[in-house]
């Protein structure tokens, strides 16, 4: 697979995904329940 082929699989950088992450963050900050259809993401608590 060439460079462009690898680029196409990097979907986590899509705007709609990052917006969904912000939905999740804001709901967490406000202490509100949330049910957004995104992969599970939690605050970083261990060294990546």
């Amino acid at each position: 697979m060439g460079i462009v082929g690898r680029q196409q699989v990097m979907t986590t950088y899509r705007q709609e995904y990052v917006l969904a992450l912000h939905d999740h963050l804001y709901a967490t900050a406000l202490g509100e329940p949330h049910s957004f259809d995104i992969p599970p993401i939690e605050p970083v608590t261990a060294m990546p």
Binding site: V4, Y13, Q15, V18, L25, T28, P43, T45, M47, P48
Partner: protein, 344 residues
């Protein structure tokens, strides 16, 4: 109704990064306001945000005196508008606003979120500079409810230095790229050809492009130097952007004898056709958050040559681009040659 205030040091940041966020949350019926400076430079901010509050502050965290003059106004605005979330971006705005709100945060139950678009301390920074910026981040971290970082190195640093309490650090993949807009199929071939014709670049000539502000940390000098060392005399280089180094870079291109093949395009509202017209995009920075022009180039399916630093490495590792050491023109030259020799 949820009320959010987005804070940046200058209005251009709102234009470059936060309009989609304003759209997204206003569509939900939220009140989304902005607090920034130099609104007249990008008056379209007023269309995207319900209210745009103007303050005046410096761009450098090391010259904060001017910014303190805005402190009283910020406190009054936040108190009056009863925001639920204050989301701060960019170092000066983020530091000053968090300082101003450190008391109100508790009494008014305001959640303060800080997105660090690349910490100003790094492995490439001087000890003094790193010490100052790390101290500022540690101090302001105490006034922060949630910290968002956008590259793996910064996530590591936030945890290592305990910049905010455990469980309050989030690693997001940047601010996102609109893949419908940066869609290679949406850029007609004749538009791409027009871009090349506008610069007198023949259809068969290799073209590299750079989309970056002309400031020292973008290291345009390295790119020009490597470009001048290429053996292929018909290669062209297009530089989109503006900034204080532009006159000096033009003089440097003349000195190197390549000025006739280096195209200074100024600020471009829409870089899609330029990137599509290029054989590769180059970013030679020594400091980035998570480089958006690289994400745009990736979405447009154009190869990228980038420096092996945080915020670029995250995007190009695993073979998604060509990584070169920062400040190494020889490696940059090799990468450019590789792209020319392997056009597909």
């Amino acid at each position: 109704m949820t009320r959010v205030l987005m804070v940046s040091t200058i209005s251009r940041f709102l234009r470059d990064f936060l309009f989609p966020y304003a759209d997204h949350y206003r569509a939900r019926g939220w009140q989304v306001d902005a607090l920034t400076s130099r609104v007249d430079e990008f008056p379209e901010c007023r269309r995207f945000f319900q209210n745009v509050w103007e303050v005046s502050w410096s761009r450098s965290p090391l010259t904060l005196r001017k910014s303190w003059q805005s402190a009283k106004r910020i406190r009054e605005i936040v108190d009056r508008e009863q925001y639920d979330i204050v989301h701060v971006h960019t170092p000066v705005a983020a530091f000053v606003t968090r300082f101003v709100l450190r008391g109100l945060r508790k009494t008014r139950n305001i959640k303060v979120i800080y997105t660090a678009h690349g910490f100003h301390f790094s492995s490439l920074g001087s000890r003094l500079r790193n010490s100052i910026f790390l101290t500022l981040e540690k101090v302001a971290g105490r006034w922060t409810d949630h910290l968002v970082v956008i590259n793996a190195d910064d996530a590591h640093a936030a945890l290592e230095h305990q910049l905010t309490p455990e469980g309050k650090v989030w690693h997001f993949p940047g601010i996102g790229v609109n893949v419908d807009y940066y869609n290679p199929r949406a850029i007609p071939d004749h538009i791409v050809e027009l871009v090349r014709q506008g610069m007198d670049v023949p259809p068969s000539a290799p073209l590299f492009s750079v989309v970056a502000e002309f400031i020292p940390r973008k290291r345009h000098y390295d790119i020009l130097k490597a470009f001048s060392m290429l053996q292929y005399s018909q290669v062209h280089l297009a530089l989109a952007g503006y900034g204080p180094l532009m006159p000096a870079l033009k003089a440097y291109a003349l000195e190197l004898g390549v000025a006739d093949r280096v195209h200074f395009l100024g600020f471009q509202n829409d870089v899609r056709a330029l990137i599509r017209a290029s054989d590769a995009l180059i970013l030679a920075s020594n400091q980035e958050g998570l480089a958006r022009c690289i994400m745009e180039s990736m979405a447009l399916e154009v190869p990228v040559i980038g420096t092996d630093i945080r915020g670029i490495r995250d995007l190009l590792e695993d073979g998604a681009g060509v990584l070169v050491p920062p400040g190494n023109t020889q490696s940059l030259l090799q990468a450019m040659n590789w792209i020319i020799d392997n056009p597909d």
